[in-house]
């Protein structure tokens, strides 16, 4: 089996995150590890740094982890979550500046081919451009 970059989907909405992960799995099956989280620590719309960290760690691999996030707070909280990772992991985790749903499908499709984290990110970021 090819070593693939993993995908983490971080939305304000758990429904969006779960649905996007379903779409990713439909496209790439189980080849590409996918984790997702959504909702604030109280379960409302928002994001949760601990949940983001846990999602990243659940699929972490040195090949890399690409995060897809939605609006502002999801990005800021994801940045914090990455900084809180053990130092050895940090450099292998990146946030894609891409739409969450479309970017996740594109990133995962690229990841399925064994592409590097840089390429996966670039592909996600190409979307709509």
């Amino acid at each position: 089996m090819t070593d693939c970059v993993a995908i983490v989907i971080v939305s304000h909405s758990l429904d969006v995150a779960r649905g996007a992960a379903d779409m990713v799995r439909e496209m790439v099956g189980n080849e590409v590890p996918v984790a997702f989280c959504g909702g604030n620590p109280a379960g409302g719309l928002g994001t949760d740094v601990a949940a983001i960290q846990a999602a990243i760690e659940s699929v972490y691999r040195p090949k890399g982890v690409a995060l897809l996030v939605d609006l502002g707070g999801a990005e800021t909280n994801s940045e914090v979550a990455i900084e809180l990772l053990p130092e050895a992991m940090r450099g292998h985790v990146t946030i894609c500046n891409a739409p969450i749903v479309e970017g996740a499908v594109m990133a995962a499709t690229e990841a399925a081919g064994g592409a590097s984290l840089e390429t996966v990110r670039a592909t996600a970021e190409e979307f709509l451009s």
């Binding site: 604030n40 609006l71 800021t76």
Partner: protein, 209 residues
Amino acid sequence: MAPDDLRDLIARSAATIAAHEEELTSLDRAIGDGDHGANMKRGFSAVAEQADALAGLPLGEALQKAGMTLIMKVGGASGPLYGSLLMAMGKALPDGGPADLAGVAAMLAAGVEAVKARGKSDAGAKTMLDVLVPLARALQSADAGTAAAAAIATARRTADEALAATRDMKATKGRASFLGERSIGHLDPGARSSALLVHAACDFLEDRS
């Protein structure tokens, strides 16, 4: 800072946030998603629950731990921003606590820089930084000999004026930026919570002195 003092400061901060939850929410409903009250209350309640543990720590560590709690509990963009503020202030705290106004001002300035970095933002974007930046500047430019009471008065006035000035600003960071021109005419919720926290800190300092 004595353990009881820190407990008091935490209680006052959490109390003012709780008392103004509705107001923060309705400000955020006007130009955001209407959760700033709930977010801040969740964060500061969590800090208040840790008050005993925090009170037992050196102030710098307590600030960092409280900052981390905000980061973990708020759930909105304001969480990592206020969290970074407290963590950077805690890290900048000189051994033995700030000796004077200049020391406090330097700590705050370090905190504000962290908020800027975390938010990829600065004053003028209609955010909490529009209160925090003028406040840090006012304290830094105060004369070395300024009396505590005068410094406190300056802090209050600066925060109030800075908050009021957010009304006519157009948001260019955070969710309110989605509204473009329509963000004009409303106070920024994060600027309001910052002003509330400044007043809580001033109340605390006044009552302690």
